[in-house]
């Protein structure tokens, strides 16, 4: 808060609070309107199915935030979403659109699941950080590879990361059905269940696992990295104009690989928590679509790591309420996916609106 205040004061000195607010409002108002537009279109879609959009909103509220139980459900889902969104938001600072976070989550989870066996006898204080580190390295290498392909070979990072995530899922299936399969897992091939000591528990006083806290810390750290460090500043220059960054002698290649790898590491960490806190084993449930929802969250948050926090809470709420909505309104569970699709379309369309409204650009009024 103190940071935000000093920021405001700093700007106020040179151009007045009103102008600063006007400039910042653009990044809030446009995504909010896009979200609203997506909801309205989804409401029309519901009407064609003979369902009431208002009761949909009511059940979403009930299922996501209506009770302590719903809150915990929402927050548990928010944890991996925060980290998956960072996997999109960090590379976005370099102008890269990485959409393969799902692959890094899956492989991070497999790495944790696979190493949990050998580390079963080690004290959890040492073993858990090692598992987390392994998951982050695997996730980081996976997404970092798309960054490296982009920088050294000119391969489109969007396509590369998407295809790599299909490979990751196939690799996961191969491993948990083959070399890493626990013979006891009969109808759902999985790695051997984690020993009790390696299971990550809940935050004190809540039914929500520790991943939430790490996700929040990840967002704050990422924001500080981008906004307050020379690496982040260099990345922003390279993302805004790579030629200018080169003329300034900035190590563009290292920034590209570093930021993509860091994003992948966060996604890998999400996989670690899915295995150690939720499933207790690595299996096909790791590919739950968090990586894709993360893309939507990062875009809604305009790739601002702090804005990811509220947006992830909202999207996790949609996710958490889907069961209730499904039962009460007799809708297929794909309804939430349809909603996400509409919102994402609206967000992409809204990208064309930036810079069009003079109200957000005080410098134009002066000319």
């Amino acid at each position: 808060m103190a940071v935000a205040e000093s920021l405001m004061q700093g700007s106020a000195r040179s151009e007045g609070l009103r102008d600063t607010l006007a400039r910042r409002a653009e990044a809030v108002v446009i995504p909010a309107l896009a979200l609203l537009a997506g909801l309205v279109v989804f409401g029309l879609f519901l009407l064609t199915q003979g369902k009431s959009p208002f009761s949909f909103l009511y059940y979403v509220w009930q299922g996501a935030y209506g009770s302590a139980f719903s809150w915990q459900n929402t927050l548990s889902r928010a944890a991996p979403l925060l980290m998956a969104a960072l996997c999109v938001a960090l590379p976005a600072r370099l102008g890269l659109v990485v959409i393969g976070g799902e692959g890094a989550i899956v492989l991070g989870g497999v790495a944790a699941g696979a190493l949990a066996g050998p580390l079963a006898g080690v004290t959890p204080v040492i073993a858990l950080p090692l598992l987390a580190l392994a998951a982050m390295i695997v996730g980081g290498a996976w997404i970092g590879a798309s960054g490296a392909l982009r920088f050294y070979r000119g391969v489109n990072e969007t396509i590369a990361s998407l295809l790599l995530s299909y490979i990751a899922i196939a690799l996961m299936n191969h491993l948990v059905e083959g070399p890493l399969r626990d013979p006891a897992s009969l109808n759902k091939p999985s790695t051997a269940p984690l020993v009790e000591g390696l299971r990550v528990g809940n935050l004190p006083g809540m039914e929500v696992h520790w991943g939430l806290l790490f996700g929040i810390i990840g967002c704050v750290v990422s924001w500080v990295l981008i906004e307050r460090t020379s690496w982040g500043f260099g990345a922003r220059i390279a993302g805004a104009n790579v030629k200018a960054a080169q003329v300034q002698g900035l190590p563009v290649g290292r920034l590209v690989i570093g930021f993509t790898a860091l994003g992948g590491a966060f996604a890998g960490l999400a996989g670690f928590f899915e295995v150690t806190a939720i499933h207790g084993t690595a299996n096909a449930s790791l590919a739950a679509g968090y990586g894709y929802t993360g893309i939507l969250i990062a875009f809604l948050a305009r790739h601002n790591p702090l804005a990811i926090l509220p947006v992830a809470l909202l999207l996790a709420g949609f996710d958490a309420s889907s069961g209730l909505v499904q039962r009460r309104m007799d809708l297929p569970d794909a309804a939430v996916v349809v909603l996400q699709g509409f919102v994402f379309m609206a967000i992409l369309i809204s990208e064309t609106l930036y810079g069009r409204f003079d109200i957000f650009h005080p410098e134009r009024r002066a000319r």
Binding site: S11, R23, F233, G249, R365, A366, R367
Partner: protein, 511 residues
């Protein structure tokens, strides 16, 4: 788009006249009661400094803006232009400073897709016959099958003008059409435009900063200053000094800043470097080039003879195939650490495209050199407060006109972007300054100021390598002049012994 019941406009060049045109943005008056008449078939020049209202005036004519008050007459009739499409339908066209062609398409494809009635399925046989006939009827031509990306700048600008004629425009606004052309290309293009005016095909309103072009090609001139029309007349009756006086409001000394100081030890040494050029087919090959402390070495040459590639080699954007670059005797590969240690700075051409991040703020752009340094030591944590203090100070010191230091730098005019870049690059000790076309498209007073700053850096002992396609600029600033032709250095001469004819001869590659 002719309105039913109204007679069509007469064929041939159009007359366009503004009457008391006024444009306000909020409290700011960008254009104040401006009346200009462009007679049919005349070539009218519009002079003014950056921000004088030239762009606003032409945007009002073209329908991008709707004037607050005042009238527009086209062919003697009052015209209310709703949007650019409406203007196009009336035969008004505009050629921009930067190209609006699709680089990956051929000339013929560019022409056909530019048409409003371009068919969904193109009958190339028919179109081709039409285009051939059109090209034959023109006083100048561009090869139809060439890909636009492969055309030289002058050819592209010719194509832009041909495109307007192909679209049936009879009144053309040229917005600094020669800023990316060499003097010869500019003369050729404007010569053709002039011939078209004399033939009664078009009338032209040209925004420019170059007095030479006004005198050589225009019939009449109007001068804007701070949104007001401050002078108008026949070009034949006016001298350059009078036009300059109208533009800046007072007679201004145009003699270059005095030289002082002595030439010192070599700072930049280039030894036998070779690199591929942008086509990947040819090489640039520079045997030896030395720039000493306290001297300006000017590289003259026609655009596309390897200057851009040399700049990219020096900034580390283009790999070397052979040879070495040394700064102060140490091998130099343009990393940030080396550039900082050896105090090497760059002013690339088109600063908004090559040296700035358009959507980042003015203050952030000014911090590009210094955000990771605290005095002489590196820093990890950036400080918004220090950045702001430094930015504010430099904005004042370099007189950057900026409405909002926190607004995107892309909102600034060209001259002010260059001032902001100068503020960043010329602050602190500078051992070597590498410059490319620093004054492209800038107005008169910005040009004088920027050249004075370059000269001041030289006098303070900086080694300056200046690449410029503006031969006057090279002649004015350099202590030593080298000519680049086809990727090689073909001629070298001290400024004292330089003759324009000899340099021009070598620039043309006839040595």
């Amino acid at each position: 788009m002719s309105i039913i019941g109204e007679e069509p406009l007469p064929p041939g060049a159009l007359e366009v006249e503004t009457l008391g045109m006024t444009m306000r943005f909020g409290a700011f008056t960008a254009l104040d009661d401006v009346s200009i008449r462009v007679a049919p078939g005349s070539f009218h020049a519009l002079l003014g400094e950056n921000g004088a209202g030239k762009s606003t005036l032409v945007k009002c004519i073209m329908g991008f803006y709707h004037a607050t008050s005042g009238e527009l007459l086209v062919g003697g009739r009052e015209a209310r232009i709703a949007d650019p499409r409406h203007a196009h339908a009336m035969g008004l066209g505009m050629v921009y400073q930067h190209f609006t062609l699709v680089p990956s398409l051929t000339v013929a494809e560019n022409l056909v897709i530019s048409r409003k009635d371009a068919p969904a399925v193109i009958d190339w046989g028919k179109e081709r016959a039409g285009l051939d006939a059109f090209m034959q009827s023109m006083p100048f031509r561009v090869p139809l099958d060439q890909t636009v990306a492969r055309l030289a700048a002058g050819e592209k600008q010719k194509l832009e003008i041909l495109k307007q004629l192909y679209l049936g425009r009879r009144f053309l606004i040229l917005d600094e059409p020669t800023s990316v052309l060499t003097p010869d290309e500019a003369d050729e293009v404007l010569g053709h435009v002039r011939a078209l005016c004399e033939a009664g095909e078009i009338s032209v309103l040209m925004i420019t900063h170059k007095f030479r072009e006004v005198t050589a090609f225009a019939d009449e001139v109007s001068v804007l200053r701070r949104g007001k029309l401050v002078g108008q007349g026949k070009v034949a009756d006016l001298t350059h000094a009078q036009m300059a006086a109208m533009m800046i409001g007072a007679e201004k000394d145009t003699t270059p800043a005095p030289r002082s100081g002595t030439t010192g030890a070599p700072v930049l040494e280039i030894d036998g470097i070779r690199a591929l050029d942008r086509s990947g087919l040819k090489e640039i090959d520079i045997r030896s080039l030395t720039v000493r402390a306290g001297e300006i070495v000017g590289i003259a040459g026609i655009s596309g003879n390897g200057q851009m590639e040399l700049m990219e080699v020096l900034t580390g954007q283009r790999p070397l195939m052979a040879g070495a670059i040394k700064v102060e005797g140490a091998p130099y590969s343009a990393t940030r650490a080396e550039a900082q240690r050896l105090a090497v700075r760059y002013l690339p051409e088109e600063p908004l495209r090559n040296a700035c991040a358009g959507r980042m703020s003015v203050i952030e752009n000014i911090a590009f050199r210094s955000f990771d340094r605290k005095g002489d030591s590196p820093r990890f944590w950036t400080s918004g407060k220090e950045m702001r203090a430094r930015g504010t100070e430099l904005i004042a010191a370099f007189k950057v006109k900026v409405a909002a230091p926190d607004g995107p730098i892309a909102a600034l005019s060209g001259g002010n972007v260059q001032r902001a870049v100068l503020a960043r690059e010329l602050t602190g000790a500078v051992r070597l300054l590498v410059i490319s076309n620093p004054c492209f498209g800038l107005d008169f007073s910005a040009v004088a100021e920027i050249r004075a700053r370059i000269m001041a850096a030289r006098n303070a002992g900086t080694a300056v390598l200046l690449m410029s396609e503006d031969l006057d600029e090279v002649m004015e600033l350099s202590d030593r002049i080298v000519v680049m032709s086809e990727g090689r250095i073909s001629y070298e001469v001290t400024a004292a012994q330089a003759s324009l004819a000899e340099i021009g001869h070598h620039m043309g590659g006839h040595a």
